[in-house]
Symmetry: D2
Subunit: 320 residues, 4 copies
């Protein structure tokens, strides 16, 4: 695999190390302004990471030129056009809507083999779906009341500086945002949980900003069915994620820390059940910038090429 | 009010500014080893802040000497001896068990007037009860499934260094602890919510450590009764907390940040309702070391002396 | 003292608590767009906190209307017009240049009495001057090589979000900025040190951004004159700051922490001497937003009114 | 290369993933209690990372059994026994004192080839020497006044919890420690700088704790010789570090951020000169746990085996 070209928009023309200072002395090129024709000339595969809305036409231009596309935007993750319209508005490439495979290898491994167009899910859906899927697959919880309380590092907000990422206002406190069920990742999580459950699932998803750069902890609550304990949940998860090199299902009652997966493509999943209240806590931690973004795209790429899913992704976390 | 004496155990004999370096140049005394008889000679009122178990005999010794006591430990907060035994073990002063007023002025203002013995609640119960009490008082939610996902700054763990407070393991990540309904503040929150509800309430309480020193955000989830919206929850809270100088009920949908109350005795409360899932999110932020500890003790002291509850506590937060 | 009006520019018309969320429930007014005539009608004294360049004409308009002005900008801190031009460019109110008292009460207490126009120094100069002034006043160090390595919390960069205050790029690392002697606070520090020394002083001042919101640690290095030890430096500082309620000179060798003064108007100063290398380390910590900004302005105001300098400023730090 | 055994002391018998949670699901073994004979049976090369004092006898036992040893303690870094005695006390294996190669490949590459015993330097010396060596090698600065103001992430203090690593006391502030020239890394930095300079060098080294987990920024100040500018310093450094894959010399005036090297074995070096004061600022950033510890040991191992120095160390930083 060779990096054939790097495209940008506002950073076009800059040296790579100006934009990504960690590459100083390691990677000497410059960024070009995006041009699908030049992409076709140089590359067979494209990774796209544009904002929703902006991504769809760029992706369509690349698909039209027969590149395989691994898209990290939200534009092709939803299967229901009405849901896209409700949460995002008009779609930028309606002809291509519905063509992508949902790029969560742990649930879509079969479809990813030979896929040429993959919609790579982001951080919140990855962490929330990985935690809850075993409970729904195993029919272990009441499906009517599922709460997802997710905590994210601030890099999840992207690279554009704003009041909500300004250190003095975000650096030593915690707060929710887009509460009351208004965050756009809600329908995506529901879509995948509904697929696993075989019936429509509704959740309340509440994201929070935590004063750290990387990491997501998704804390998911549901009412356990009678007799279900943490061991049963753990066993079901281990069964579901057997053969998934990126997922470690921790022992019952373990509390994963986001630093344990920082910088890696790994997910830690765990389960606890409180007998007094009858509730399950399902937790999942990932690095939002790796398993929740670029690493997951590489994992999908490996799967689509028929290679070992973990190629280039075996590094453990940078811990502590 | 005059500080008549300061007592310590392992720090006895040290200068105050060695133990509390922020007092350098401001407060020149030394710490004495605790002696209830000397306390009686010098003071009319005692504030005690010992670990549970160790507190009960010290408090009893002070009460026996007719001091008014404001106790910040967990030893006298529970009303049910069986609950104390289940969660904490044998009690250190069973004769005094049940004598204290629960020192949450917003719910126990009447009993605090003229009280001579107050069990001051800590950080998690204060934040969780303040968020949920209006919903139960107003019969606005289904009482069978209440989830409390609480996020705390690391100072909540106390001053003793440990792996869980060690910066390299706690400084750039988030994790739950004592999950699965095992945290000792659970029965205290349930006790107070049950009093408000008029029937036994069970919750799942899950605490988390956030990489910040101060602050608690308690995120509480429950199923809304039909027709209940954020405005109704907000209105009920404003009614309940009318006359409570430390509580600000924010507008519907607001997301309070812990830094907005840092260093102050204030609590910010807010409500959101998600119509799709039918769930309420009730949030409360406090500074765990002020409204969740010393500030609340002073507030109780003011109330018990018949003074303005907010005396000495009017400073706004140190924000940002 | 009464807050008569609050003026803003881009935030004009907003509720105070929208802009300063820590005041929710405490302070109910709105912000007006700045109008010097309305200021005159309502107030006797003005505190101005505009960027340099923008401040000068606003201050002049207020002075013309006979208000006392305490200006937190850099526009009136320098005494030498050439230095202002070199470091800042053209001045916005040259007629008023040179009229203000430099508002560091510890060095200018006499001039502040009855002052009607005060240029309040900011965070870096305050911390650096307080550390070094005793060494120069006492002729304890070689004046030819003075290094100031200053470390600041990120709130020092102001409230405007930018790449350098963006949590993911600033939150878990440290870096210098404006290195090589290019930071505009250099001439101000040199001006005050030269006044104390009685001859021109040149320093190398290098600021750093530290991943914390508040606090400055100014670490100052100079070559000790023969026989000078930490005790001598400490004694000279205690003499110089006698009668200064905001300054605590710590014992020789102490290492002040910025959290020990966080949220307070206090400065901690300390001295160490290394016999092997013959160098002195002079340290000073302040809260950049209090003793390095608003608190210092209030301290100047008190001094100018002939009141106790510490009025309203006696609170100890919010520590930890 | 194969991991043949992992030895521990107090953690002997524990599963690796209990002690290093980032390895959950990746590395299944357990830790054995250290036994040099079993080490000999299983391995050809040993990496030792014990505290100073404890390391010497363990290293001697391994050397006696003909293992190659890469020691990360301070026990074999100094060449002068009197200096060891002054700063550390009695040595635990005096027969072996002076036998190790100082494992900074950028300065000792020749001696490392075929070395069988290497004393790997730690974080502060690596960052400080890499910044200053070019200035001394090129005779670009006055050698009589060199100040090193070093800022370290808190993981530099090791894994044992203490007051100085306790989040509430270290998490949102900065402070110096072991100031006044008392830190034990002083003689090691002086030793290597003296080797480069060809005459004895004295420095004042002052370490600081910064509220972040990883990273060191070493800010070094010296008086420039006449005519020396940042370009000259940069050119000399590029010459000295040509062929050193871990070092990137940034452009003149650049300010490296510790996050740009976080998680990598890289060092960023840069130079600025202030003409007004005549002082040079030489900066170096590394990750104290990689280039300042384990990564450097691997780099030395590669060099000693005659392999490419960068094997296994090519990953760029985990940035942001």
């Amino acid at each position: 695999v060779e990096v054939a070209a790097l495209f940008a928009h506002s950073s076009g023309g800059k040296k790579v190390e100006q934009v990504l200072p960690s590459l100083a002395g390691l990677f000497g090129g410059t960024l070009d302004v995006f041009d699908p024709e030049r992409a076709r000339e140089r590359a067979d595969v494209a990774f796209t990471a544009l904002p929703h809305g902006a991504s769809a036409p760029a992706v369509a231009a690349l698909l039209d030129r027969r590149l395989k596309v691994f898209d990290l935007s939200a534009d092709f993750r939803l299967a229901d056009p009405a849901a896209y319209r409700e949460w995002y508005g008009e779609h930028g490439a309606p002809d291509r809507f519905g063509e992508a495979v949902y790029g969560l290898p742990e649930l879509h491994r079969g479809e990813l083999a030979d896929a040429s167009f993959v919609a790579v899910p982001g951080c919140y859906p990855t962490a929330s779906i990985l935690a809850l899927a075993p409970l729904l697959a195993g029919d272990l919880v009441d499906r009517s009341t599922i709460v997802v309380d997710a905590k994210s590092g601030i890099s999840g907000a992207g690279r554009t500086a704003s009041a909500s990422t300004h250190f003095p206002e975000a650096g030593e406190g915690i707060r929710a945002y887009k509460s009351g069920g208004t965050h756009r990742h809600t329908p995506e999580i529901e879509q995948e949980l509904s697929r696993v459950a075989g019936e429509p699932i509704r959740i309340l998803f509440t994201p929070h900003l935590v004063p750290m750069t990387r990491g997501i902890l998704s804390s998911c609550y549901a009412r356990a069915k009678p007799g279900v304990d943490a061991e049963a949940c753990t066993a079901r998860a281990r069964e579901l994620y057997r053969g998934s090199p990126s997922v470690a299902v921790l022992d019952p009652g373990a509390n994963p820390d986001t630093t344990w997966v920082r910088g890696s493509n790994r997910a830690h999943v765990s389960y606890a059940v409180d007998r007094r209240s009858g509730l399950v806590l399902a937790q999942c931690t990932i690095d939002n910038l790796v398993k929740g973004a670029a690493g997951q795209a590489v994992q999908c790429f490996n799967a689509a090429m028929g290679w070992d899913e973990g190629l280039g992704l075996s590094a453990p976390a940078v811990w502590p």
